[in-house]
Amino acid sequence: MTIRDAVRLTAPGLYTAAGTDPGALWEALVAGKDTGRPAEFLAGPWPETDTAFLVDDPDAATLGVHRRVLRTSEKQARMALYGARLALAGPGERGPVGGPGWGLYLGLPTVDEELLRFGALDRLHRAAGSPGEVAALFGREVPPFSGLSHLNSTAAAHISAAFGLTGSMAAYSPFSDAGLEALIDGALSVAEGENAAALVGAVSPKAHPLLFAQYEELGWNGAVPGEGAAFLLAERAADGAADGGPAARLAGYGRAFGATEDDRAEAIAQAVHAALEMARTDAGGIGWVLPDAVWSAAGARAQRAALDRVFGALAHRPAECTSERATGVLGPAHPLAHVLLALHGLAGGRRLADGGDGVREEALPAPRALVLACGVRGQVCAVVLEGVGK
């Protein structure tokens, strides 16, 4: 038995600026809905936009947790917890959730932060030059639980605690490839019998002034950041989607690495070919491509060249679409948001096609979708999803 036969991807849970489920995102994309919000912390002529795709910070009631959880988490962890809650709502209705057979696989961003509250920076500016005063300021002003909340793993801890997950786990960081690494390894853990079910998810960085500085220095092309979380369940095929929700097979996956800009297009093409081979299909068997929301010019060029290489010879290339115009760039969560869109489309036999001035909905000509993740360092993951119907 292969991973394709052994595992079903079900239970989508999506939290983005477009709403709280893949259907809402689908509709927002088709309708061209403006889901951006003013990002008031930005000033000056750059970046050119003064909006970002922000989400509300979930409160304790929304998350279904005690208020103290909010003290030991930051927004990233809370978005992840909400995404997990959305995903597990359906499975929770059809039976108990959690326990030793329930694992957790996460893609987590790492955003360099100031740790001092922004409001304390003026005092830091004045204290500069006096290390003792600076140290004292840190002692007073560093938030009391930041030693916990700033660990990459906080999201995993709170999700495990909220849902009683005690199975095998892994957390990956920091860029979009981490989201698909979580999906591949989570699905493998179910296929290999390590877990009965694996909650797979990823979260974006929280939009923060220093996120812009970080992206800028890594070659940002001006793409607008977004916030959100995308989760799903990898279940044994025999157990999956008993609630009639959308489900898909992970028919194939591939990984590759292109260390330099010159290598990246080839690496992306290699990853796609590996995924197609594992899925026992070829470029013509793909009905829909969801490229990564690559946010560097070099990365975007490489991805375009790779897709041209793989699909260029086809008389009818599969339609492409990213969620970027309704969600912004979601970092590790972006490819998983695309996986959820693909589940939605595969279940209904529809796809989205990105035109010059909008997104249109079309019939899906082949029941397979290709989702890509291209990490900033050149790490590439590609997955082929195959519909299994309702």
Partner: protein, 435 residues
Amino acid sequence: MNPLIPNGAEHEVVVTGIGLVAGQLTDPEALFDHIAQGRTLITEHPRHKEWGVPCAVSAHVDPQVRQALEDAAPEEAGPLGPAGVLAWHAAAQAWERSGLPRRLDSERGGVFLACNRMVMEPAELTGLAAHVDYGAGEFDLDGYLDADAGPDPRRHARIQPDTATGSLADYFGAAGVLETRADACAAGGMAIGSAYRYIRSGALDVALAGGAESLTTLTSVAAFYGVGALAPADGKAPAEISRPFDKDRSGFVIGDGAAFLVLESRAHAEARGARILARVAGYAGVTEAVKMTSSSRDGSDYAECIRAALADAGLAPEDIDHINAHATSTQANDTCEAAALHTVFGERAAGIPVTGNKSAMGHSLANSGAAEAVLSVLSLQRQAVLPTLNFTEPDEVTAGLDVVTERRDARVTAVLSNSFGFGGQNCSLILAQAG
């Protein structure tokens, strides 16, 4: 690459190289000998002491050693941050010792690195603070980026945890699977465990797996002090502060370092005539559901993890003859771990030598599990167990364990190495004699 679902023909996973940097020491044997002599890496941090930082002790990497490592990294390594430099040295050392060719150039090699996120330090923040309009609550990003004293344009590339992962994969030609793990203090062990699983399934032949951390900084110390995790000096000498399992333990001492292992399938290693140092016999990496700062005090969650690793290895508790404990020296963690050891090993717990390496080398967070795995390999090689420094008297829960206090020659055939992260990210590795 097409990982297989286990079909009974699993591949045995062996260790063929180890590398490490910690404190002023730059190889595994030096650290093993250092601890064997009852010596510590924990010292006063001169700048933190001068600045009046409350917990001004750490197992930091000596600045001259760090500079030498930076100078020694080849240009092809690209921009490496503080943790990346340490990772590079440990990984290159492990690779060279394994006898593998300079480049693998195969999709059947991979890199698995554990590393935590960095946070901005005061000097960097001061540069940023000049561009904040506090009245309007706005940050002038243009001004910050364009300033003469603006940020190092390669800073973010240097400090991202996956930068070293990519650099190592590129340099050694081992890019079949790249994983940068973010499982808190268990990440080092989990990176090794993940590599082990990929080789066992037949997806990879070779993996470079380990961890790196460089968080003995003002910001990190302030953050961990704020949450009450760091041990206060309380008039003790730096060397005496970290005291795992001791009744007077009061928190961990933060440390830096990096450690790597080269893992291979036995078939691959034997085909090239490699010297096999040990086997990775079993692994469990699990999450749990108690709370952020503590696992179940009865040790049941840790016990489940240990049992899962034993089951994975096909071993019984009586097959384990040494325990390299997570042993952070915090009240909660050591209590949970001791209870778990009693639960799993029962009366036998009193007869299994236990060591807590963090007593001497501090807690290097994501790196700690990798460093302890390297030291466990040396215990298997040398048939000797390292001491737990500063352990003088147990409390009610830690009583009944054979906490080793001086280097001890012992029969070591299978080592249980634990790593338990904040928030219940638990890892147990079982390393065994090469056979």
